[in-house]
Amino acid sequence: MKTILAVDDSASVRHMVKITLCAAGYQVIEAGDGRDGLTQAKANAVAMIVTDLNMPNMNGLEFIREVRKLPPYRGVPIVFLTTESDDGMKQQAKAAGATGWITKPFRQEQLLAAAKKFLG
């Protein structure tokens, strides 16, 4: 079973991510901010990461950069959550090493489609 790491400071968003992906047969582990996310990433073999960008302690951009530096995470898809209006952020996240994005608010199908796209 593939493990997906959901990083978001909003428990409700994390929950939504979790029930959606668990229903599709993935295992989901959660982290409340970038720093926590990095710890989880180091402790688990994660197949894909879904992360918010705007978070306390360590924001999403920094988190993506740090995760990419970990050798096992070269090549792991990282999807970030962003808002329609924030195109500049998209570019920055991509530059940091993100693979794709999901525009908030998102529907369950969009998340599943992303998981399928990046994990096959």
Partner: protein, 678 residues
């Protein structure tokens, strides 16, 4: 053994022949691009391989050949010219099919995809952007408004690191409709420079789908900024023209009307037709070839060998009792007839071997940037099958050597007043019981001074050693010898020609070299007709008997006791005014006891040198079935093998070239001591 043969094995054999035909046709096509018979031959070979491949479970082969055939169909229809570039790709494709059949587990499918991509690229160029073929499946899917798109894309190198997986994207494309994918590997750097997680590939995709164009954009939505993507719609009519790839047996109905120009059936030769055409071809060219498993031949050869031995035994019996003489003669006659017939089966024309070198020369010519013509003669000359196989490698070395070292580059040739294209001439002919195979070129010729300098430098000869040119030239066959100023990928490492010499001598053959500075070199391989049975001269030395290959024997003379005593220490015999050194086999083999009163000398010769072998008795000629020596004895000099005599005793076969060399050494030594024999 053949009745139970694995059908896949039969396919392998058959396809090997077909691929051979294909290669010949392609090479001929390079010379005569307009020859439709050649194109048809190539096409038929492909078609048969495809059909049989699918039947015998070689799906990969069938699939690739199908693509190759479809592409080649353009040539057949006159839509593309068989230019050298196309021939080169087609030859690669042929090699790939061969490796798919012979070594499927080692064959990387990616190579095939690359070859097909190359083919398509060539056709695309030829047709100024005409589409590559869409697939049969596309045609069979009567999608109302499907459009064919042609995509070409490459990602930034870091795409893999950033978590995107091109394979998944390709899967997504495949999910949209019928999708043909070809990958381009040209940008993949050498292993040493390759970053393991960088993406160097580029893809060509032809996608026929009913979805709107935006579906393609959706696939690439996250990576579109990190890639080069070209998407273009293919004209519907053009798409059909490029889609003549119905599967061999089943006719596929196409949804759209097929333009007239391409309406001709793509595969007119249905199985029966193919059989007919191949039969016709067989009737025309290769009238009576038979396929006999080599092991069966070898087995039969053994039987014949036994029979020859039995006959010898009977002859001996007859000599003792007298009563069986008639039978003995009859058996002798039968045996020799059987032997000749058997030899005949083993004999194959050398042309099959020559054929392989056309490809070699073609490739050499390209790799070396020299124009080289290969001319051949005497293809019909027959030679024992096992010898033909063993000759392949030595000849490759010799030809490579000629192409690489002997032939000058075009500019030098023109400056020397020669045609720009160099010529390598391969000739085979019979000469007595020998076959001569010569490789001659019109290159720069051997430079005796340079060879001498090199040999002295390498310590092969002492500085200033008195050697004739012929002897100097033989040095190029020494291990580690190479005068090439620069080592090229092909030759010049001093590996090769020594192997040639070893192989040829292993076959009881020899090598002659003739050269004219500035005009060219001719290297001639002299080989016995067969390796299995020879006419031998049986001699006795002390109690033991030995066989001497009769072809090497020039004459037998008697040596009187007086002669023997007088020449003691000198070991020279005056044969009609010429001094011939001789070896006392008794001494050589450390036989104790006194020699017979009337010693005989067998004069043996190889090339221009002669040596006398002093024996006690000459018994007579003997059908010598050659048995190889055991590993334990393989290194013993002076003997090349053994044979079994009529009474069951073993007689060793003398290694004439070795003995001659030994005699020559003694002669030189003696000459050094006594300046001039009186």
């Amino acid at each position: 053994m053949n009745e139970n043969a694995d059908p896949a094995e039969i396919f392998r054999q058959e396809s090997a022949e077909l691929l051979e035909q294909l290669e010949q046709a392609l090479l001929d096509l390079e010379q005569r691009p307009g020859d439709h018979d050649l194109i048809d031959t190539a096409f038929r070979a492909l078609h048969t391989i495809k059909g049989s491949g699918a039947m015998f479970g070689f799906e990969q082969v069938a699939a690739f050949t199908h693509e190759f055939e479809s592409a080649f169909d353009r040539v057949r229809k006159g839509e593309a010219a068989p230019d050298p570039e196309l021939i080169a790709v087609a030859l690669n494709a042929k090699d790939f099919i061969r490796s798919q059949i012979e070594r499927p587990e080692e064959t990387d499918a990616v190579i095939g995809v690359c070859i097909l991509a190359d083919l398509r690229k060539l056709f695309a160029e030829a047709q100024a952007g005409a589409p590559i073929e869409a697939s049969a499946e596309a045609a069979s899917e009567p999608a109302a408004k499907s459009t064919t798109w042609r995509l070409r894309f490459r990602f930034n190198k870091e795409v893999l690191v950033n978590g995107s997986n091109p394979l998944l994207l390709l899967d997504e494309l495949r999910g949209l409709g019928d999708c043909r994918v070809a990958v381009h590997c040209e940008s993949v750097p050498p292993l040493g420079e390759m970053e393991p997680d960088a993406c160097y590939l580029e893809w060509d995709v032809v996608l026929t789908m009913a979805h709107p164009r935006s579906a393609i954009d959706d696939v690439f939505m996250f990576v579109v900024d990190d890639m080069e993507l070209k998407v273009e719609a293919v004209e519907p009519g053009a798409a059909e023209a490029g889609a003549p790839t119905a599967e061999a047996a089943t006719a596929v109905e196409t949804a759209a009307p097929v333009p007239q120009a391409t309406a001709a059936p793509t595969h007119p030769d249905h199985p029966a037709g193919a059989a007919e055409t191949s039969a016709k071809r067989a009737g025309g060219m290769e009238t009576s070839t038979i396929r006999v498993p080599a092991e069966r031949l070898d087995e039969m050869m053994d039987r014949v060998g036994e029979l020859v031995i039995a006959q010898a035994r009977l002859t001996q019996l007859a000599a003792a009792g007298g009563g069986t003489k008639g039978v003995a003669e009859e058996i002798e006659r039968l045996t020799s007839a059987l032997r000749d017939a058997m030899m005949g089966i083993r004999m194959v024309p050398i042309g099959s071997l020559f054929g392989r070198f056309r490809r070699l020369v073609h490739d050499l010519s390209r790799d070396l940037g020299k124009e080289i013509d290969l001319t051949t003669a005497g293809e019909e000359t027959e030679l024992d099958k096992t010898m033909i196989e063993r000759l392949a490698d030595p000849l490759v070395h010799v030809i490579r050597n000629s192409a690489d070292h002997a032939l000058e580059d075009p500019a030098t040739r023109v400056a020397a007043g020669k045609p720009a294209a160099g010529n390598i001439n391969l000739v085979a002919r019979h000469a007595g019981a020998e076959v001569l195979i010569s490789v001659s070129d019109d290159g720069r010729g051997l430079d005796a001074q340079r060879i001498r300098a090199k040999a002295e430098e390498n310590g092969l000869i002492a500085a200033g050693a008195a050697l004739t040119d012929a002897e100097l030239f033989q040095l190029i066959f020494q291990p580690g010898f190479s005068t090439a100023k620069q080592v090229s990928a092909l030759s010049g490492r001093g590996v090769g020609l020594d192997v040639v010499k070893r192989t040829i001598e292993g076959m009881r053959g020899s090598i002659d070299i003739a050269t004219q500075p500035g005009k060219g070199t001719e290297i001639t391989l002299r080989l016995p007709l067969t390796l299995a049975i020879i006419e031998g001269l049986l001699v006795r030395v002390a109690e033991a008997r030995y066989a001497i290959p009769l072809t090497a024997v020039e004459e037998c003379v008697e040596i009187s006791e007086a002669d023997a005593t007088r020449s003691k220490g000198r070991s020279f015999l005056n044969i009609r005014g010429e001094l011939v050194p001789f070896l006392r086999l008794r001494e050589l083999f450390d036989e104790p006891g006194e020699p017979d009163a009337h010693q005989k000398v067998v004069i043996v010769a190889a090339a221009d040198t002669r040596v006398g072998l002093v024996v006690d008795q000459i018994i007579g000629s003997h059908q010598t079935v050659i048995k190889s020596l055991s590993k334990l004895h393989a290194d013993v000099p002076s003997f090349s093998g053994a044979t079994i005599l009529g009474d069951g005793a073993v007689a060793l076969i003398l290694d004439v070239p070795h003995l001659i060399a030994l005699g020559q050494v003694r002669e030189t030594r003696i000459q050094a001591k006594t300046p001039e024999p009186a």
